[in-house]
Each structure stands twice: as structure tokens, then as C-alpha cells.
């Protein structure tokens, strides 16, 4: 008699453990399903937009597929574009954990790329590439880190809004680039576009063997993993997340909020600076206005889609990189302007933010006991 009840109780216990796991899984699946739903809805809205213009949505999406993911060539194109997106998205994601909205990653990218190219100029004649490239990367990290670190410092010590400050610093970074590239550091042998001296084909970062994709992608994935560990498995990350959750509580606990903000922003800026370094050292070979390609702004969307999770940023960056890579094909085949991709990105962004309102309100994701 007693044994039976015990067995019963055990059976019930096991059953509810399984149900608990399923329940937890279903609840956490919300964070995966909702962004995907948002993507589908924005795809539908964009189809309506295309139909209103008399273009075929089916053509559009099949071209996105072919231009971004259909062939090995398009995959390589996609991956080359997603590498800077990973870095610039990290520039948004890390401060976002502290509740800071940084949108000036493009400025750190521009300045990082410029710093890398500028420090290379005196070194090119004598330095071997194994020395030159790390010095360039370091210069980019420092320049980017200071640039966005400044935003964090201004926010904490002066209460300056970080969103506006970071965007103003982007315009200032562009002016700095133009000032030097069209002035003191201009390469006189290049008659077309004002640029710095090329770092030389031999010094440039090569491709991953068997592909045309440069090593920046690998570095980006490694960096995203490291930052994931930093934010989720260390006391620093814990303190940062507390600060983002409730600033006053963090201060009351005696957490060094200011230091956390400045360091997180500096890390973020260093990431974007590295994006600039790879653009210079692997793509352009020199610093010029081509650095201002909008990666910093697309990175904002990448980070929001990934819910500021460094690991999720990698696939999302590849996804949006693919859409960007198909832009050229869409432009040629469908006679649509290159800004089509911008419209789609903007639409995804708006729908994604609106999807926030449905979290915790759809019955599917709630457990039975919830109110």
C-alpha cells in the first residue's frame, strides 16, 4: 500500500519534470519564434510594397536567394559582407546589455580603418606583414575603443545622451578621415579617389584557403564567442547585466557603474574599429571614403534581431549580409534602385520593434499556471 503510493508519487514527479522541461523550452522558444515571425511579417509587408509598385515579390525573394545564398559564389559574397556586420553588431550589443543604445558604430569603423591605414604608412617600407598587421589592428582597436569609450564616459560623467553623442561622433570621424585623406596623408599617385597610401598587396590579409572570404569572418566568430562568454559567464558580464536591468539597484549594490559603462563602450568601439581594420587590410588595402558603406547602421539592426546576444549575432549577420549581397542582382534584374535593401531593412527593424509588444501576451508561450 505504502509502496504503491510512493511509486505513484515518483511517476507523477517524473512526469511533471518532463512537463517542466517542455514548458521551459516552449517559453524560451518565444525568443526564437518571435523574431522569425517578425521577419515573415516584414516580408509580407514588403511584398505588398513591391506589388504596389508593380514588381513581383516572388522574383524579388528568389533573387535574394540566388544573390545571397544560391551558389558558392554568392555565399562567398555574403560572408565577405557579414564579417564587418558581426563586428559592428557587437558594437551595439555589448553596450545594450547595460541599457545603452549606441548607434555610432560606423564612426568607430571609419576611424579604426583610418588609424590602421595611417599607422601603416611609415612602416610599409621596412616592416614585414606579420609585424605590420598586428600593429594596424592594435591601432584600430585603440582608435575605435577611445571613440565609443568616450561616449560611455560622457554618458556616465556628464549625463550626455549616448545615442545622439555617438551619432555626432560618427560625423566627426568622417570629417577626420576626409581631412587627412584629402590633405596630409593623401597618396599623390592616386589621381581618382583621395586615399591613403596602399599597404601593399603582399601585406594584405589573405583569404581562407579554398574561398574568397578573408580571415575577418573567423576572427568575428571567435570574438563573438569570447564576448558571449564575457557577458554570460563572468562577474563582469553579470555586473553589466545588472546595470542594464536596474541602474539604481546596481548602484545601491556598490557596482562600479561608471567603470562598467566606459569599459563596455570601449570594448564595443574596439569591435567596430576591428571591422574598419579588416575592411582596410583585407578589402580596400587603403583608407578612403569607401569605408563609409553603412555597415555600422546595418549592424544596429543585426544586434536588435539577435536580441543583443553575441552568439546569435553571427547567423543574423550572415542572413542580413546575404540580403545586402543580393542588392546588386536585384538592381540589375528588377530595375529597382539600390536603396531597396535599405527599405527592406528599415521595415524589418520597425516590425521587429513592434513585435516586442507581443512578448508574454501570446497564449502559446505561457504556461498553464500563469495569469
Amino acid at each position: 500500500m505504502v509502496d504503491v503510493t510512493k511509486a505513484d508519487r515518483m511517476a507523477v514527479g517524473q512526469g511533471s519534470a518532463l512537463a517542466d522541461t517542455l514548458d521551459r523550452f516552449r517559453r524560451s522558444s518565444e525568443f526564437v519564434i518571435m523574431p522569425i515571425l517578425a521577419l515573415i511579417v516584414s516580408g509580407l509587408l514588403f511584398s505588398i510594397f513591391l506589388l504596389a509598385l508593380g514588381k513581383s515579390p516572388a522574383d524579388f525573394f528568389s533573387l535574394v536567394w540566388r544573390g545571397g545564398f544560391g551558389t558558392s559564389f554568392s555565399w562567398q559574397n555574403t560572408l565577405v559582407r557579414s564579417s564587418p556586420l558581426i563586428f559592428t553588431a557587437l558594437c551595439v550589443a555589448i553596450p545594450a546589455r547595460l541599457g545603452l543604445v549606441i548607434i555610432g558604430g560606423e564612426g568607430a569603423l571609419v576611424l579604426g580603418g583610418f588609424a590602421a591605414a595611417a599607422i601603416a604608412i611609415p612602416m610599409i617600407p621596412w616592416a614585414p606583414s606579420f609585424l605590420l598587421l598586428p600593429v594596424m589592428a592594435l591601432a584600430a582597436i585603440i582608435a575605435g575603443g577611445i571613440w565609443i569609450g568616450l561616449v560611455g564616459a560622457l554618458r556616465h560623467y556628464r549625463g550626455v545622451n549616448e545615442t545622439i553623442a555617438s551619432l555626432l561622433l560618427f560625423y566627426i570621424a568622417v570629417s577626420i578621415l576626409n581631412f587627412f585623406v584629402e590633405g596630409a596623408l593623401r597618396d599623390p599617385s592616386d589621381p581618382n579617389k583621395p586615399s591613403t597610401m596602399p599597404i601593399g598587396r603582399d601585406n594584405m590579409i589573405g583569404a581562407i584557403p579554398g574561398t574568397d572570404v578573408h580571415w575577418g569572418l573567423v576572427f568575428g566568430i571567435v570574438l563573438a564567442t569570447l564576448l558571449y562568454l564575457l557577458m554570460n559567464r563572468t562577474t563582469f558580464g553579470f555586473a553589466a547585466r545588472i546595470t542594464g536591468g536596474n541602474l539604481r539597484a546596481a548602484q545601491a549594490q556598490g557596482l562600479p557603474v561608471g567603470k562598467l559603462m566606459v569599459i563596455s563602450c570601449a570594448i564595443a568601439g574596439a569591435c567596430a574599429g576591428l571591422a574598419g581594420f579588416f575592411e582596410v587590410a583585407a578589402i580596400h588595402g587603403k583608407a578612403n571614403a569607401s569605408l563609409i558603406a553603412g555597415y555600422g547602421f546595418t549592424g544596429i539592426l543585426v544586434s536588435f534581431l539577435a536580441r543583443h546576444n553575441p552568439l546569435v549575432i553571427v547567423p543574423v549577420a550572415i542572413f542580413l549580409g546575404g540580403i545586402a549581397a543580393s542588392g546588386g542582382l536585384i538592381q540589375r534584374r528588377m530595375d529597382l534602385p539600390d536603396a531597396t535593401v535599405l527599405v527592406l531593412q528599415g521595415l524589418i527593424f520597425v516590425v521587429l520593434l513592434v513585435s516586442e509588444t507581443f512578448y508574454g501576451r501570446l497564449p502559446f508561450f505561457r504556461s498553464k499556471g500563469d495569469l
Binding site: 545615442t163 570629417s175 528599415g346 520597425v350
Partner: protein, 307 residues
């Protein structure tokens, strides 16, 4: 003697620049003042400005009437404002993030539809000459003033007076200072904010049409370089007071004219740094005028940016 005239040229160019360049700042900042007074911040005005510039130019090109262009630019702006105002009333939707998204979306749409209008010439807005009393050509040119600038001044006074003295102004201010208090008074908070954001969007759209229809006077993709966002910073500097907005807009306009003014007398070295002057000035002003310890005088209590 030469230096005197050079200095005079620069000062005159900056004076003229202050009048010409300041108008978009003025309109965007007045619109943003109203929106922020109701308790929300709309960072999307940069996108609204660019879209307003494009749509105003397109309408002026097709109809031949620049004033119709201004009107349509304003209406497009209020559509963006309505979108912002409507989306932000949904729970858990952050007004700053929506603003960033709308900034990218509006810019994308403007570039998308604006491709066709980069080449053609649209009729521009006329200007009124106030320089009849002088023979100096430079001064005469400086006193070619666009009616929109004058309208902006009138608007600044109307908004200042209206926010202070009318029932409508009180409603907006109450909503911005304390939503619970407004609710207790029977005010529909979301509706007040929606309307304030729409009117703010209208002003920003008009400001954009000034860019494409008067100065610089044509539609290009690089037309606005952050004016919309600088205007948002300017509102903080102006302490949410429409009259200060006018003075601040003049100051920003003068700073923006510094680079071209120096270039006109042959100082082209450091041109890019002088071009960065408005941004650097905005940043310095924000550093000087905000404080981490106390909330700012005149700041609406519900505003997320100053909390």
C-alpha cells in the same frame, strides 16, 4: 586693411549662413520641442527630414509649384509622425528604438523613391529681398530671405505663447510632465502624444523641403548630414523653449556656415574640420548643458532621455 575686409567677409558670410542654414534646424527643433513636451522623443526626425526633402522636391518637379511641395513634405512628415506616435503607444515598445528604426526606414524610402529626381531641376522657393537699402552686393545677397525662415520665427513665437497660455498647451505640458496626472484629468495621453508627434513630423517635413527647394536647393542623397539629429540635441540645449530654439538654430546655422565662409576668402586648409564645427559644437553644448546629477530645468518629466 585686407584683414579687416577678410574678417568682414567671413562675418557677413556667417550672418548670411545663419539665416540660410538655420531654417531646417529651426523647423525640426520646434517640432521636436512639441513632441518632447508631450513626453516622447522622436529620433526618427532625421529620416522625416530626408523624406520631406525628397517628396517636396518631387512634387515641385511634377506640379511646378514649390509651395505645394512644402505642403506635401509636411504631410509626409506627419505620416511618419503618426506611425511613430501610434507604434509607441503599444506596450513595451521603446520610443528611442522606434525612432532609430524610422530614421533608417525613412532614409531608405527617400533614397528609393528619390533616385529618379537626382538629375532633374525642380522649381525652387522664391526669396524676399530685404537688401534694397544697400549697395553692397554681399549684404544684398545675405538679405535674400526665404519666407519659410520668417514663418519659422512666427511659429516659434506662436508655439512659445501657445504652450504657455492656452488650454491646449497646458494639456500637452501636463501629459509630458506626468502621464498619471494627465490621466486623472481625463486627458487621453496617447492621443495627445500621437497628435504632438504628428505635428512635430509635419514641421520636420517642411524643414526637409527647405533643404531641397531652397538651400542647398536640389535633391541629393547626401543632402542632410545629421541635421535632424542635431536639432534633437538642440532642443535639449534650448531647454524645451521655442524661443531659445530659434536662437540656438541661428547659432547652429552660423557654425555650419563657418567652413564655406572661410573657404570663400581662401582659407581652405582644415576645411573638413570647419565642416565638423556644428557637430563638435553640438557635442560640446550637450556636455556643458547636461548634468548626471540633476534633471534639467524645463525638461518634461516623462521624457526617457532625461530620466
Amino acid at each position: 586693411m585686407f584683414e579687416d575686409s577678410a574678417l568682414a567677409t567671413v562675418l557677413l558670410a556667417m550672418f548670411a549662413g545663419a539665416i540660410r542654414v538655420s531654417t531646417p534646424f529651426l523647423f525640426v527643433s520646434l517640432g521636436e520641442t512639441l513632441t518632447e513636451k508631450s513626453g516622447r522623443i522622436n529620433l526618427g526626425l532625421e529620416g522625416t527630414l530626408v523624406f520631406g526633402a525628397m517628396s517636396g522636391y518631387a512634387i515641385s518637379y511634377h506640379t511646378g509649384s514649390p509651395w505645394l511641395g512644402v505642403l506635401v513634405a509636411g504631410l509626409c512628415g506627419s505620416c511618419f509622425g503618426a506611425l511613430h506616435g501610434y507604434l509607441c503607444k503599444l506596450p513595451k515598445v521603446n520610443d528611442i528604438a522606434i525612432g532609430i528604426a524610422l530614421m533608417l526606414f525613412g532614409t531608405g524610402l527617400a533614397f528609393f523613391f528619390g533616385k529618379a529626381y537626382i538629375q532633374p531641376q525642380a522649381p525652387r522657393l522664391p526669396s524676399i529681398s530685404f537688401g534694397f537699402w544697400t549697395d553692397m552686393p554681399a549684404l544684398r545677397q545675405a538679405l535674400e530671405i526665404n519666407p519659410l525662415f520668417l514663418l519659422g520665427i512666427v511659429l516659434a513665437f506662436v508655439l512659445w505663447w501657445g504652450l504657455k497660455n492656452t488650454r491646449w498647451g497646458l494639456t500637452v505640458r501636463t501629459t509630458g510632465d506626468s502621464a498619471p496626472a494627465a490621466l486623472a484629468l481625463g486627458i487621453n495621453v496617447n492621443q495627445v502624444r500621437l497628435l504632438s508627434t504628428m505635428v512635430g513630423g509635419f514641421f520636420a517635413g517642411v524643414g526637409g523641403s527647405f533643404l531641397s527647394l531652397y538651400y542647398p536647393g536640389s535633391w541629393t542623397e547626401g543632402l542632410s548630414s545629421g541635421q535632424g539629429l542635431m536639432a534633437v540635441a538642440l532642443v535639449i540645449f534650448a531647454r524645451w523653449n521655442p524661443l531659445y530654439c530659434f536662437l540656438a538654430a541661428l547659432l547652429f546655422g552660423a557654425a555650419g556656415a563657418l567652413g564655406p565662409a572661410l573657404q570663400s576668402i581662401g582659407i581652405s586648409r582644415g576645411y573638413h574640420f570647419f565642416n565638423a564645427a556644428p557637430y563638435i559644437m553640438t557635442l560640446l553644448i550637450m556636455i556643458a548643458s547636461t548634468s548626471p546629477k540633476r534633471s534639467l530645468k524645463g525638461a518634461p518629466g516623462e521624457l526617457s532621455i532625461t530620466k
